[in-house]
Symmetry: C2
Subunit: 104 residues, 2 copies
DNA sequence: CTCCTGATTCGATGACTGTCGAAGCAGAGG
DNA sequence: CCTCTGCTTCGACAGTCATCGAATCAGGAG
């Protein structure tokens, strides 16, 4: 990644593969909501235990979604003592956002 | 749709379902590239025949991806005579983009 | 060391998705 | 009417994915 706005120049095959990976990670309601919960949480980070309670889903499932977000580069996790804290990577979000709209 | 930026307030369950539908549609390299080809094409619209040649994919497959984009509300198709022309819906793209970054 | 708790990994399973060829549909032109 | 061409729909199949319970790992506390 990346790249001129989508509406200006056609994406190359490689660019579209990279970009699609990010959008695909965001293409699940649970993951989008996780992303939002982490991003909007006080201090810019959230512990997994804060996230699990919000959903009617098992721990392993939440963990799986966090892994997908992590592998897409959208979040990072850091262990501090007993708990693991996640925070978002704002620049990847910003880049993904920028591709969707024309230059100003 | 929608909605305060992702990083300001946590998405509701309903919002995340709606939004995820859009990102999911963009979560495939072929579809992202189709979107880009249509958006960046002269006149803001492209005929299916313009699109098919770019990929090593069968007609039905391209048609399938266009349908997914159409059902996500990202593009609209209009038949004029023999050919069908697609164009993007810029406001949905803009809204999806806006959710990803904080207010200015 | 042993137990407890928070979180991830593993393995299985049912559902969904990308792809194709074949068939169908819609206009244009004989 | 028939035929040709552009595009979509249908049916099938292989691959991927979301989900769970069970097992595992990593620290903290006794």
């Amino acid at each position: 990644m990346c790249c001129a706005p989508l509406v200006r120049d056609p994406l190359s095959a490689e660019q579209s593969v990279d970009l699609a990976r990010v959008f695909k990670a965001m293409g699940d309601p649970v993951r989008l909501r996780l992303l939002s919960l982490i991003a909007s949480h006080a201090g810019g980070e959230a512990c997994v235990c804060d996230l699990t309670d919000v959903f009617d889903l098992s721990g392993p499932t939440i963990s799986h979604h966090l892994k997908v977000l992590r592998e897409a580069g959208l979040i990072t996790g850091e262990r501090r003592g007993t708990w693991i804290y996640y925070r978002v990577c704002p620049d990847l979000l910003a880049r993904a956002s920028a591709v969707l709209v024309p230059d100003r």
